[in-house]
């Protein structure tokens, strides 16, 4: 397919890989921010082709993974109500809340529908005026414009039976939080290309300068990823820390003005809780006061829900790059893709699910987290030496780590 096939060319990939191998002289840790990039890296086996000393840390940019538990529970609560049509992107249906998921709600009689766009949900609201249609508006800056557009259109068309359950998150405050974490190992970022195609790059130079960290706006096809990595290691090796745009066919410095205008109209910045990580200041969007009537949380009065995250789940540490998935005690035993404790094991973009598959390939024997340190010569799933000893601390961990971790992060 035009504009896709060109970015899969094995010969060009080889040349980029050669250049990366020739450039890298010591260990570096890069974080790819976006879950779409993680997916592409795993899908194409890119991580296995990079130099041993180059570590890719999977970032928190998987919207399915970071949508907070309380928001999933609110979704489950609203979707269970009679008269509600609950619309969502497909991969949210399998994300566990406190005890069940949207698939279960559907099996129990809830009207849960997969749509490809919030505007499709708005169409359902117009076609079925006697039902309350709710769209689960999650995601990063990428999905925000369409969600904003749906609400804008609902108001313009006078559609009153449509509302949005909003749990939007923003990348720059998350990058800030990651860099301020005391045990942060990230030395460069592959910034999320599609986020930047909406937002532009204006938010990044200050972050790059203050944290002295290269930030390369990177796309999603294999050659895009390799070009992002190549530019990042070139900066690292020469001691630079600039913002570079390695995805110019989609990203302009000023972003997408029409999308930005719609976001500014419909949303306002708010603190947002990230699943497993905690609350990060100014890291989300909610509906602006003028659009409060379209806020599903408001309409269905689901303010105070008791949530219960499985204590064994350490997805928060995984999302921050503090531990590798297989270092979690639950990994591969009580937590597998078919019975996931955390969202990182559910989404195909989630680091835990990706590791689960890869680990089975490298070490078909059952999970062996107990043995540590790893015997010499036995590669861990990335083929790299295990990171510095990190004593698991979960046994005494409180069930509600959000506040504590937020203090540390924020």
């Amino acid at each position: 397919m035009k504009y896709i096939d060109e970015f899969h060319d094995p010969e060009l990939a080889r040349r980029l890989l050669d250049e990366i191998h020739a450039t890298v002289t010591r260990p570096w840790a890069l974080m790819e921010v976006c879950g779409g990039q993680t997916h592409s890296i795993i899908r194409h086996g890119i991580d296995q082709l990079l130099p041993e000393s180059l570590e890719l840390i999977h970032g928190p940019g998987c919207p399915v993974c970071v949508t907070p538990l309380e928001m999933i529970d609110k979704a489950l609560e609203i979707a269970s109500r009679p008269g509600v049509v609950f619309c969502s992107f497909g991969d949210m249906l399998r994300v566990p809340g406190s005890g069940r998921d949207l698939f279960r709600v559907r099996a129990e009689g809830g009207d849960v529908r997969v749509v490809y766009s919030p505007l499709d949900a708005l169409d359902i609201a117009r076609r079925e005026p006697d039902r309350e249609v709710v769209f689960f508006g999650i995601g990063f800056e990428t999905t925000a414009p369409a969600n904003a557009m749906a609400v804008h259109e609902a108001r313009r068309l006078g559609v009153r039976n449509f509302s949005l359950l909003v749990s939007h998150v923003r990348v720059p405050p998350a990058v800030e939080a990651i860099m301020r974490a005391p045990d942060c190992r990230v030395q460069a970022f592959l910034a999320a290309g599609h986020v930047c195609s909406v937002m532009g790059t204006a938010e990044y130079p200050e972050l790059a300068e203050r944290h002295r960290v290269p930030m390369v706006v990177t796309g999603f096809e294999p050659l895009d990823i390799l070009e992002g990595v190549r530019r990042a290691v070139r900066q690292l090796e020469s001691g630079e820390h600039r913002v570079e745009n390695a995805y110019p066919r989609a990203v302009r410095a000023e972003g997408n003005p029409a999308a930005l205008e719609r976001i500014a109209e419909v949303f306002e910045i708010t603190d947002r809780s990230w699943r497993g990580i905690g609350t990060i200041p100014d890291s989300g969007w909610r509906l602006a006061p003028a659009f409060r009537a379209y806020d599903a949380e408001h309409r269905f009065e689901v303010g105070d829900l008791r949530t219960a995250e499985p204590a064994a789940c350490r997805s928060g540490e995984v999302l921050q790059g503090l531990i590798k998935p297989h270092e979690c005690e639950a990994f591969g035993t009580v937590c597998t893709p078919r019975s996931a404790l955390g969202a990182t094991m559910v989404s195909s973009e989630g680091a835990c699910a990706a590791y689960y598959l890869y680990r089975r390939l490298k070490a078909p024997a059952p999970a062996d987290r107990a043995e540590r340190p790893r015997p010499t010569g036995q590669a861990e799933p990335t083929g790299r030496p295990a990171p510095a000893d990190r004593e698991p601390v979960r046994s005494g961990r409180p069930a509600q780590p959000a506040v504590k971790e937020a203090t540390r992060l924020g």
Binding site: M1, I4, A13, Q48, P63, D91, G99, T142, S347, P364
Partner: protein, 358 residues
């Protein structure tokens, strides 16, 4: 924390082997998706309840001996929505699906039964159109619809037209085709481009259009193609039609049943441009998309060239190509070699493939 993440409604002591089912105490759509959930339902609920060795083979069709004859026997229900789609309809699927299940045992379908479950209020012209399609498809597949049944359910208790077909056919002498027979060294062949049926259905169901060309379902009977392959050699190890769950699910079933590892060379897998584009838009993987007129063949390396030539000489196998091989490494697992030179595990899908958010 003591609370389980999923409350167990099923009483675990009152059931044969309920453990994996406890995560889903009610039926979810994924139980019919042809993936891991379907497999668990079979393994832990149906097989223990019916308890016999014929069923435990879990092939697309069962091979049974009756009065000295070896028969392949299979049944399948069709609940597709919409009833008609580019390239076919529920009638074509109902015939070709069962004919193909029999063909995967090496049998040429001889007789079909055909049962309708109709919803009160469905227009008779629709039922007639489905019946006509069944007749046409049966003639094309050279199979006789020998018996049938019709039931009507209250309005709102069905989705228009459901069809069940069962079929029997003779398994030729000396033929032993089953997933357990895949062995290291065998070659994996696909009979043509993949993903067309699933994307054709999605394009009409979701109102999506991909590119300039219309995507047409590949629904077709495969009995003739299999006969042509058997004319070359009786020693076909495995045949599988990759329907629900696609090529990925079928290869995983073969790997699990045989204990062989399977390596796919991803760049050799024939994915039509339009299917690739649609999957790109929706965040789907063509390896998991359903086919209705394709087969996967696992054959001894020594026979591969002759089988491939016979397939390419047949209309249903014109696009046949080698996509991988069975290996001794990673037993029971399917691994794809990516065009860049990396590799990834191709896992059994859990249930329905879900479009990704980004």
């Amino acid at each position: 924390m003591a609370e389980p993440t999923t409350p167990a409604v099923v009483d675990p002591t009152a059931w044969t082997c309920p453990a994996p089912l406890r995560d889903h105490p009610t039926v979810v759509l994924g139980h019919g998706g042809g993936g891991a959930l379907s497999a668990e339902l079979m393994e832990h609920l149906f097989v223990p309840a019916y308890g016999n060795e014929t069923l435990a083979g879990l092939g697309d069709s069962a091979a049974v001996t009756l009065g000295g004859a070896r028969l392949a026997f299979s049944t399948d229900s069709y609940v597709v929505r919409p009833l008609f789609f580019p390239g076919g309809g529920i009638g074509d699927l109902a015939v070709n699906g069962t004919v193909n299940d029999l063909a995967m045992s090496g049998a040429r379908a001889a007789y079909l039964s055909c049962a309708f479950i109709l919803e009160e209020g469905v227009e008779l012209s629709v039922v007639g159109k489905v019946a006509q399609a069944i007749g046409t498809a049966a003639a094309a597949a050279e199979v006789t619809v020998a018996t049938g049944d019709t039931k009507v359910v209250d309005s709102g208790h069905g989705d228009g037209v459901y069809v069940n077909t069962s079929g029997i056919g003779l398994v030729p002498e000396g033929v032993d085709i089953r997933p357990q027979r895949a062995a290291p060294g065998d070659v994996v062949i696909v009979s043509g481009p993949i993903g067309l049926h699933g994307i054709a259905i999605m394009s009409v169901r979701e109102g999506l259009e991909f590119g300039v060309e219309e995507i047409v379902s590949d629904t077709a009977p495969l009995g003739g193609l299999v006969a042509a392959m058997l004319a070359v050699t009786r020693d076909l190890h495995v045949l599988r039609d990759p329907t629900r769950g696609g090529v990925a699910a079928s290869l995983n079933e073969i790997a699990t049943a045989s204990g062989a590892g399977i390596v796919l060379t991803e760049r050799d897998v024939p994915v039509p441009d339009a299917v690739g584009a649609a999957c790109g838009f929706l965040g789907l993987d063509p390896l998991y998309v359903a086919n209705e007129g394709r087969l996967l063949a696992v054959v001894p390396r020594a026979e591969a060239e002759a089988v491939l030539a016979a397939m390419r000489a047949h209309p249903q196998g014109a696009g046949a190509t080698v996509i991988g091989e069975c290996v001794a490494e990673h037993p029971g697992m399917v691994v794809a070699r990516t065009p860049l030179g990396g590799s990834r595990v191709v896992d059994l899908p859990l249930g329905e493939q879900l479009p990704r958010i980004c």
